[in-house]
């Protein structure tokens, strides 16, 4: 099936982006400091709410949902052709770069038809990067 991107770029209210970014930071903190109070479960629930329930978009019967997913690019390779990352190179090398620090994650929006009548295959999905990841990259050290 042919999927056509929307003609206009999706605008996401800043407050939503702030919430998603904070969620990411919360998750990172829990990973660093341990999850003694079982907080990760709540974080995952919020993540799922953004990723699966999403926000209704457009007027009419409200069958389109915009879901938000964040991606932690930690450890991923970086090349000059990647435009989902805003990278700063640390150290002297500029080849074999990998992400060594993530200041902000990549946030993508996924437009879904929520009518539930369609199978995943026919469901119109259109993904867009709505926030570039802000990262620090470094030449990968040879083992």
């Amino acid at each position: 099936m042919e999927i056509r991107p929307p003609t206009t770029r999706i605008q996401v209210p800043k407050i939503i982006l702030t919430l998603v970014n904070q969620l990411y930071e919360l998750e990172q903190k829990i990973k660093r400091q341990g999850d003694t109070n079982n907080l990760l479960r709540n974080v995952n629930k919020m993540k799922d709410a953004f990723a699966e329930e999403g926000l209704p978009v457009g007027a009419g019967n409200g069958q389109l949902q915009m879901c938000l997913i964040y991606e932690d690019p930690m450890g991923q390779p970086f090349k000059e052709t990647r435009t989902d990352l805003e990278a700063t190179i640390s150290g002297a090398g500029t080849d074999n770069l990998v992400v060594v620090e993530v200041i902000k994650p990549i946030i993508r929006s996924v437009l879904r038809d929520s009518s539930g009548e369609l199978s995943d295959k026919d469901r119109a999905q259109y993904t867009q990067v709505i926030q570039k990841g802000i990262v620090i990259v470094e030449t990968q050290k040879e083992n």
């Binding site: 435009t83 989902d84 805003e86 700063t88 993904t127 470094e138």
Partner: protein, 831 residues
């Protein structure tokens, strides 16, 4: 007909923008890649690609032999930049042309302007100005009109504040950008805006402020908290131990700087390991506005000095000036405005958007300039009909990258190509078109990946070809992926029956995973025989569950619990279906915390003997009820058919009883019985669905009449819309043969009416009186008494919002059995 230029470009030292005047307003175009209006004026040449903007900026500091920035300052000089990776030099004109061409890509309206206004600093002389024009022509524009930046900014202001009279006045344009500072005196001379004098510093701007925050505020604070030797040197040196931290903190400092524009303090949070190996986790350093102001004070004072120089040269007093117009991102800082006003005693004007004012002003100017292509008559981009592109690539892939290759037939000299992924994650940059091209394209997992493929001529005008898009399906969209033949649903309690909640829909491609949260609708006492049943069935989700095939069955029994599960507890269920259709169900009970897990596969069906016999009982009851009803309604045909089901039903019941005596029965009897049960259930459903549909249709019509009346009387716009939507879809669900759909519509109708009634005084009072009539059975008599007193008072005061709250609390005091009018049957224990 509009014959004006309309397009304006701010070709800046650090950032560039493009804007268009259209019907009285100006639109600043955004980078299709990311959301910024600005394009970094940086050009890079890496691995045979040409990169412009952010992508080039990444490599600016580290690979300055191949990446060039700030070339605007060299415009009009004979100096050129040696590009190591190209083995040749590029002039500032050529480099600026790359930026201009890239800006053309921002125009989403499909236009390809041939005439444009480009802004230049007030300090540009004739040679530099001509060089800028050259860059415009090299970028493919046929007509280039230049405009000085301070004038552009002033025009943006004058067009925004149309009532302000600027005649016979003069003012200062103070432009403090990311990396440069310019200040100019603008005056209206004989009705025309003119720059009278100017000053500037090419190495002063907002990015210097970020570095100051790190150096003077964060680093000293960090040294107090941990053990660091030569912290600053180790941060700033490329080889330094803390070089990574430096870049990290620069980002954080920039965020803090922006926050400090509106708040009096900002927190910077980060983790670092000091020289002795102590990890300072989630360290918080607070930067106050006054600390920030103290560190940038010297820099701001320097700019004030330059401004004063102009005044001195022109023998002007501050009061001769109307205002100082603030332009450039760094002027967002309140201190910059405050300090300038303080030092010069001239009112500061912040009436325009500092980041895009110059581009906006350029567009306003462009709207007054006629297109005049002169001899350079418009030559539409030549449709190179002779270019044939033959491509080869995998349309479906399981890899993270897929190779794209193409053979190009025709004349490729001077042409470029560019591939971009439509979600904004990938950009190949401009690459020379050759007879054979190969590119590795990164793929987003589990998605259709769309790439645009465009060929450009040397002026970045798109060239027509017979190929323009690449589509690759990654992961689950692979045609080889197995599809699910039927819906998989979870059985839940609903009213006095059960309902199916779809987990995976038919034709979902495997593997698949999903999560569902359910509420426990009955209490399970630990150690008891009570149980919650997670039942997964295969078949249309509109069916009654007994008709579908049970493929997964997980019991949470009181025996396996350490604590009670109270009513209302949430259970998180995760369902995973592997490619071979093995179903894994994980149940996580919150808050008592036990986790239950079970794997099912289609060849090894789970049928619980106990559940089976209960289901058979239930079915038997249903059959008897339906038959009685059919007889009562004199529907003898159906009654007769139902009668025929009774014998097999009784046989089934007997066998199920026998089997339930040996719950660990190892034969396949249970599966046979399950199949027979389903067959009977299917027939029963078929025979009675017509009746159910009829009943629901009548029920729907009645509900509609009642709810419509309520909406007409007291509904708001939103509720009217909701009702209209249901009406609009009426023909589909009324014609449907699935009772569930009509039931959903009825539920929606009642939902609308309850929304309205909850704000209707009569209803609230009636509800209150109903609750009062039940006062003897309320759980907490003392509280009930208080609430009833309060309620009476609210009625007297006509305070219905508060009455609603009182009703809610009284309702919660009702005994469980009274709360719902229908006594819920708890077959599964989840809803």
């Amino acid at each position: 007909m509009n014959n004006m230029i309309n397009f304006g470009i701010d070709l800046g030292t650090t950032n560039s923008l493009i804007a268009k005047f259209d019907k009285g307003t100006v639109e600043v175009f955004k980078n299709p890649n990311g959301f910024k209006e600005t394009l970094s004026s940086i050009v890079g040449f890496r691995n045979d690609r040409i990169l412009v903007g952010e992508q080039a900026r990444t490599y600016m500091e580290k690979d300055h032999k191949s990446v060039v920035s700030r070339f605007k300052r060299k415009m009009g000089t004979t100096e050129s930049f040696k590009i190591k990776s190209l083995g040749q030099s590029k002039t500032p004109i050529e480099l600026s042309a790359f930026v201009l061409k890239e800006l053309k890509n921002f125009i989403h309206t499909g236009e390809s302007p041939e005439s444009v206004v480009i802004t230049i600093p007030a300090s540009f002389d004739m040679v530099q100005s001509n060089a800028t024009k050259e860059a415009g022509y090299a970028a493919g524009f046929k007509q280039v009109v230049l405009l000085q930046e301070p004038i552009a900014a002033s025009l943006a202001y004058a067009n925004k504040e149309k009532n302000v009279d600027l005649k016979n006045s003069q003012w200062i344009v103070y432009d403090l950008g990311g990396g440069t500072f310019d200040v100019a005196l603008v005056k209206i001379v004989e009705g025309e805006l003119k720059v009278v004098d100017h000053e500037g510093d090419n190495y002063l701007g907002g990015s210097d402020f970020d570095a100051l925050i790190v150096e003077r505020i964060i680093a000293p604070e960090l040294e107090k908290k941990g053990k660091f030797k030569d912290l600053l040197a180790q941060m700033k040196s490329e080889q330094g131990k803390y070089n990574r931290l430096w870049h990290h903190l620069l980002h954080k400092a920039e965020e803090a700087k922006i926050e400090l524009s509106s708040k009096t303090s900002a927190e910077i949070e980060f983790s670092v390991e000091d020289d002795e190996g102590n990890v300072l986790v989630d360290l918080i350093i607070t930067v106050t506005r006054s600390e920030y102001e103290a560190v940038i004070k010297d820099a701001i004072d320097t700019t004030a000095e330059m401004l004063k120089k102009i005044l001195t040269r022109k023998s002007l007093q501050p009061q001769d000036l109307k205002f100082v117009l603030m332009v450039g991102g760094a002027t967002y800082t309140p201190f910059v405005r405050k300090r300038i006003q303080e030092l010069l005693g001239i009112p500061v004007n912040t009436g325009i958007d500092p980041t895009n004012a110059i581009a906006v002003g350029a567009a306003y100017f462009a709207a007054t300039k006629e297109i005049n292509l002169g001899d350079k008559s418009p030559s539409k981009p030549a449709p190179l009909g002779n270019l044939r592109i033959k491509v080869a690539y995998n349309r479906a892939s399981q890899e993270k990258e897929e190779m794209f290759s193409a053979k190009v037939e025709g004349d490729v000299t001077g042409l470029f190509y560019r591939i971009t992924r439509e979600d904004g994650s990938y950009d190949s940059g401009l690459k020379k078109l050759s007879a054979r091209i190969v590119e590795d394209l990164p793929l987003l997992e589990n998605a259709y990946n769309h790439f645009g493929f465009t060929v450009y001529d040397s002026q970045n005008n798109p060239v027509l070809t017979d190929f323009d898009s690449i589509q690759i399906a990654q992961g689950k969209y692979s045609v080889a992926g197995q599809m699910l033949p039927e819906d998989l649903s979870l059985v839940k309690d609903k009213d006095d029956d059960t309902t199916l909640a779809r987990i995976f829909s038919k034709n979902s491609v495997l593997p698949a995973k999903t999560k569902v949260t359910v509420d426990v609708s009955k209490a399970v006492i630990h150690g008891s025989d009570d149980q919650i049943r997670i039942i997964v069935v295969e078949g249309p989700a509109d069916n009654h569950f007994t008709v579908n095939k049970t493929i997964g069955y997980l019991e949470i029994s009181g025996k396996g619990l350490k604590r009670d599960i109270v009513r209302g507890t949430e259970i998180d269920l995760t369902f995973e279906l592997s490619e071979s259709r093995d179903l894994t169900v994980n149940a996580f009970v919150n808050p008592s915390g036990p986790e239950f897990s079970q794997i099912f596969n289609p060849t090894n069906r789970k049928v619980s003997v106990k559940s089976l016999s209960e289901e058979v009982q239930m079915l038997d009851g249903q059959l008897a009820k339906e038959k009685a009803e059919a007889v009562k309604n004199e529907n003898y045909e159906v009654a007769e058919k139902l009668e025929k089901l009774i014998t097999p039903m009784q046989e089934l019941q007997g066998e199920a009883m026998l089997l339930s005596l040996t719950p660990d029965d190892v034969t396949d009897d249970r599966y046979k019985l399950d199949d027979r049960k389903r067959k009977i259930a299917q027939e029963l459903n078929q025979l009675t669905s017509g009746k159910r549909l009829e009943r629901l249709r009548t029920e729907y019509q009645a509900a509609k009449v009642e709810v419509t009346a309520i909406v007409n009387e007291s509904g708001n716009d939103h509720e009217r819309r909701q009702l209209n939507e249901i009406n609009a879809q009426e023909h589909t669900f009324l014609a449907s043969t699935t009772p569930q759909k009509i039931q959903t519509a009825i539920d929606q109708l009642w939902h609308i009416s309850s929304q309205i009634l909850r704000r209707t005084p009569d209803f609230l009072v009636g509800w209150f009186q109903h609750l009062v009539s039940k006062r003897e059975m309320l759980n907490d008599q003392l509280q009930a008494k208080n609430l009833i007193e309060q309620g009476k008072k609210h009625i007297a005061d006509e305070d219905f919002d508060k009455l609603l709250a009182v009703n809610g609390r009284l309702h919660s005091l009702l005994p469980e059995t009274e709360k719902d009018s229908k006594e819920a049957r708890h077959f599964t224990g989840i809803s």
